[in-house]
Symmetry: C2
Subunit: 415 residues, 2 copies
Amino acid sequence: MKAISVLGSTGSIGTQTLEIAEEFPNQFKVVALTAGRNLPLLVKQIQKHTPEVVALADESLLPELQERLNSLSKENRPNPLPELIGGTDGLNTVASWDHADVVVTGIVGCAGLLPTLAAIKSGKDLALANKETLIAAGPVVIPELKRSGSRLLPADSEHSAIFQCLQGTPWAENARLSTGTPTPGLRHIQLTASGGAFRDWSIEELEKASVKDATSHPNWSMGKKITVDSATLMNKGLEVIEAHYLFGLDYDQIEIVIHPQSIIHSMVELADSSVLAQLGWPDMKLPILYCLSWPNRLETSWRRLNLTEVGNLTFKQPDTLKYPCMELAYSAGRFGGTMPAVLNAANEEAVAQFLQEKIHYLDIPKLIEHACEKHKVDIKSSPSLNDVIAVDKWSRKEVKIQAKKSKYQIPLSGL
Amino acid sequence: MKAISVLGSTGSIGTQTLEIAEEFPNQFKVVALTAGRNLPLLVKQIQKHTPEVVALADESLLPELQERLNSLSKENRPNPLPELIGGTDGLNTVASWDHADVVVTGIVGCAGLLPTLAAIKSGKDLALANKETLIAAGPVVIPELKRSGSRLLPADSEHSAIFQCLQGTPWAENARLSTGTPTPGLRHIQLTASGGAFRDWSIEELEKASVKDATSHPNWSMGKKITVDSATLMNKGLEVIEAHYLFGLDYDQIEIVIHPQSIIHSMVELADSSVLAQLGWPDMKLPILYCLSWPNRLETSWRRLNLTEVGNLTFKQPDTLKYPCMELAYSAGRFGGTMPAVLNAANEEAVAQFLQEKIHYLDIPKLIEHACEKHKVDIKSSPSLNDVIAVDKWSRKEVKIQAKKSKYQIPLSGL
């Protein structure tokens, strides 16, 4: 029986993690949760899983949560009631909860950074769905991992695919991800990308891309921000940086290939030219389950992959003109230090501006490039956590300022 | 440095093994060879690799080989000259040669059975390219493997793919193939089949299939017999039986999928529904190299797989009406005991009759089915080696007799 702590339990990764816990009641016990603002769902989760502790990022919501739990009839009230805590300290407490064996970090964006670091410092195994931890704070995280012995298990489907393919390598036997040392026998990895909502659009058509267009993902059902990242291919660019830290690879060893069916979740090319791939339906539950069951596999009754039903798997090179964010990410990764943090923060802010319909779709890469260009003179190669947080703030502010300039603003009449 | 013994050095597997030895002179040393009748090539191989011992299946050719070696000028003559031996004893001596670490068994058909068994009895690791060893003599081989501790490393591209995919399973850590015990966590395997020369032919067109048609394989360059097996899908049927013994799987766990591009060499479906696949260009050198380097991988400069160049991978269910040999193989495998030996021998003889243009292409499965049907009353479930050899002989004779009947004979005027 593994005890699980879930950071971001009401989000997409969190709810799927709890579904898995329900499906395997003899394997997993949820002992700690953190959530944002979705209190009705959180209450249901507490009723079902009776965790020992629950933390709310926003401390001011604690009384309301307490009230909701108290108002439950006796037979519906979880017994015992969980300890309720709040704020950053609360999140960190849950992340390093003594009774947890694995921490699932499903908090999106830089908000997940501090609790994820707390989990790492406590030496726990992490099911890492929060990319930003490595992308923004890779240079801070890697030494912490070495110190604490914490192991990062990738919950991202692409990195899980690579992790699964690498299980048979001598390196995997060490079962120590993210030590930043190169993987012997591993020559290249290929991250597959669906191509996102605009994979069949021409560059000219992209000028008119609306929020609605950009948030309709062809294969995966995900949040809005990540769906836009998928359309710009920034999602894949961020995954390249994540893979660099996770698997100790140079950027030249990491490639992106457009694979619209999202059946091959990623591939590794080994020293002798053999390629291993992991395949499955596009469903995050499998990579999450693998994080929780690793190094074992649990028997599921999930739908079998049927390639004769899929029929065709297609592959093409990504178009660098159509997807400038991809190149921006490679470039930021190669600069290293604080540059990926700037890239990531600029992207979050630019996508937010786009989702608020304040800028055009094609302005997203321009705003990111501007922030990265400006940061070049200030890069810190071995940043502290405070340095990372500082450049993150700076980058968001910089994008906000730029976005207000007339060349980016969408006129009131719209697109 | 690994010392290699090559059984069948002038055949397709043998020559590719020697190419690998040349390519990695610091890793591999060829210490023993056996060959059939291609003495000019054998002499060149002896010159290049200076093995300690060479055996000829046909003893009567020994003087000619000796003469060819003696007649070489001094600077071209291998020094020291290898010990030359012949006949079945000679092959067995090479197969269990003391100085060899790995034996590559590239002898096609049942001729390879005895030397392969000799290698197994000597406890050596085997790079198994001779399918018949397991197909015909599985019930004899499995107990021998357990006794001697010999390990079967599959050189067949499909089984190599599965072996590679399984490296990360707890089972693979035992590094003991072919113990006949089920593999935990392994739910299904899918053997990919190109569909062979007739994959785009209708059943009606197959009535007119000529030897030339049947021996033109779309993807792999192989011998004539195996190319016909590929057209009938008997090749895949035999691989199903081979996989049954290699990986300890029930026949229900082994599936065949038509994949015309031959890029995915096979797949495994694990307990949690995750699918792992091994990919590469259609080239036997990679699976042979993996047998020799396992559990490590050697750096090659072979052409990288480029999926964007391939563009499309397609998959479909095999048509059981078009490929009756496939079902015959499953059925023979399920009967077990001596039945797969009868199937295999009947197929060898039927294909020989077809290659001699004595029977029609569509008669191949009919002749095999006839032999298997007739054998049903005589199956031995735990046969001895002599039983296997006896049913093999019986089956060939039975097919020969049947083939002479007028309903199978092609009239002198041809197809």
